[in-house]
Symmetry: C2
Subunit: 440 residues, 2 copies
Amino acid sequence: MRLSRFLLPILRDAPREAEIASHRLMLRAGMIRQQSAGIYSWLPLGYRVLRKIEAIVREEQNRSGALELLMPTIQSADLWRESGRYDAYGKEMLRIQDRHERDMLFGPTNEEMITDIFRAYVKSYRDLPMNLYHIQWKFRDEVRPRFGVMRSREFLMKDAYSFDLDQAGARHSYNKMFVAYLRTFARLGLKSIPMRAESGPIGGDMSHEFIILASTGESEVFCHRDYLGFDTPPADTDFDSREGLQAIVDRWTSLYAATSEMHDAGEFANLAESDRMSARGIEVGHIFYFGTKYSAPMGARVTGPDGTEHDVHMGSYGIGPSRLVAAIIEASHDDAGIVWPDAVAPFQVGLLNLRVGDSATDAACADLYRGLVAAGFDVLYDDRDDRPGAKFATADLIGLPWQLIVGPKGLAEGKVELKRRATGERETLSPADALRRITG
Amino acid sequence: MRLSRFLLPILRDAPREAEIASHRLMLRAGMIRQQSAGIYSWLPLGYRVLRKIEAIVREEQNRSGALELLMPTIQSADLWRESGRYDAYGKEMLRIQDRHERDMLFGPTNEEMITDIFRAYVKSYRDLPMNLYHIQWKFRDEVRPRFGVMRSREFLMKDAYSFDLDQAGARHSYNKMFVAYLRTFARLGLKSIPMRAESGPIGGDMSHEFIILASTGESEVFCHRDYLGFDTPPADTDFDSREGLQAIVDRWTSLYAATSEMHDAGEFANLAESDRMSARGIEVGHIFYFGTKYSAPMGARVTGPDGTEHDVHMGSYGIGPSRLVAAIIEASHDDAGIVWPDAVAPFQVGLLNLRVGDSATDAACADLYRGLVAAGFDVLYDDRDDRPGAKFATADLIGLPWQLIVGPKGLAEGKVELKRRATGERETLSPADALRRITG
């Protein structure tokens, strides 16, 4: 993509209304535009990141065996009356009447609708386990939306719902999502730590929040330092192996880890001092077993091997891709701007032409651009007639992992400069070597 | 994907409420579920088709130089008051009040919001031309939604908006979309014919509907038979060439083509009888130049080369991917079910195991499955313990382009059967040859 043809409305100064780093940087980098309180447009740069995150979330959901579908944003109030939540939900639910004065709502979540879909089609335990998910925009009418897309009213959510014959089956489904989430966050360049969360009316141990560490995080968390060294489950993990998954979950829940709400100072004090870590964290996912809370009132039942009907056991599993864009920035930025992990960078390479109009420089850039695109890389080619300082500042602000800097002086000696955004490391090398270095 | 792990709720009988072929077939094939009047969930099979269509639409928009962003579904009424459309729009607009009693709405279209984005960031003719698009769910509160996703209330729309300094520039932008649409529909397996449409308040010739022919189409259209033989503009079309694009558009608008609203029986009668074609058609896209209709009242202006400010000239360009799913079915089905074009088939291959549990058959299927997946094909493996007749019927109903039929009898002679859904053509050949034939 040529920058001269892209829409990248960089702001020099941090907007006053932005209270946290990610919000400031997303506005400055031209990633989002606020359209109303807590409602944003995703400008081209921001939307590229959002889509890359969404794709990784989808791949890992599919790998775990979950099936993607898509439920609509607008739901009928009647479904929510069946579960009793229409009256219980409060003002965060955006309630709507259509032209025929039927009560509708913009879905804040989808337990009721997915239960409705399940009960319509699935009748036998033979069709279980089943995990259905979608990636869809939700709306929660927060009284005071803030922190940009970290806590917006309209937000993108991946919500998965599992269905099992019994609690043992539900545990396996839960563990699949547990492992999928570990893999998802690792692929996004994040170190996530699962922490026990309030389990709600069901009780039990099947409720975890996934927390990433970021010095600017929203809350304090406490955990054993060894979590930092834990390996991510590999891509070829067998999701059908109950024992294999349970072993992974057991390991990842074997050490102390707690959000401030669940923190037990006494237990934490029992750790050796060198093992104790307290830090700021951001919740990026939540998995939750809730048994028959919706299946019982809504009549989602299957015939079991015993020939009788059973209310299915359900769990729900949420990741917010739009919130993740901000969370990744909170975890990965510096004074100059964003530092994207490679997997979610809007472009992997920024190609900086320091003398647009100089035929040798233009030709070298055109060559490098072609080479990178042919190798499957997303490249933002800064072909604007602007001074080098402005180009460096933009490249740092928008945080592209590689910066490939091409100017007439270097080219006279057959060299270009390659900078790694994350470390600031710079190398001077031939264009061909630079290409190999990036694509290698 | 193993069918035993997929959610495919096939219906034996056509549901009464469905009036047209695509609606009946989408319900029978388990592609969609109605959640409220005119509001649908996309079940896994249907969602796969929708995503494939969306991907092709996106690729062709990007190829033409359009930039993708994403605007929210919920908009502020204030923007629509600026253009005067808040009061003018009528009951099809879903109006909402949030918890603070602010007037909001679920966007039925995005001219106002995109104009707001443009005016916030673009100030100079040097940044033009610009075409911004998004693929987002819209809502139009139709008084009597019908025909399934062909005319639903919540629907997916690709809407692009072009911005130019003057009308000549706008014509080039218009022509880019014209050519992109020809390519898009051709890649979707459709023969589309651009037909002059009402041009609205601006007048002029820059308003076209793209119509596909389908015997069950919604309206009558009239055109010169030669359109059926016109070539689609190639992938390497130079979208920056004003002359090149104009020549393509001139050719594609050189012959008679009209919807019933625009039909001129006298002019049509002048064609040689053998050239006259009248048929049923479905509108699948609409492109439209509307000048300064929104830029003038909303103050979207750029500084021109002359140093003075100019209201930008705009056009809008719509394709409905959710509607296209139905339109493709209308254009491509038979008594047994859907006949998907390869590019949008939910799976390219159906692999039918006629004797699940027979070790040789299971092994041969597992081999073929692995081979097809390794070659990058989407395969639905019918591994259910069901009778062959049911498997054949399902495969025909859901319309997968290739059916690979594996049973013990054929395998004893080293053979499998390969059926092409579109033609019904069958071949008996070795598993290796079948694989080569498909991946060809």
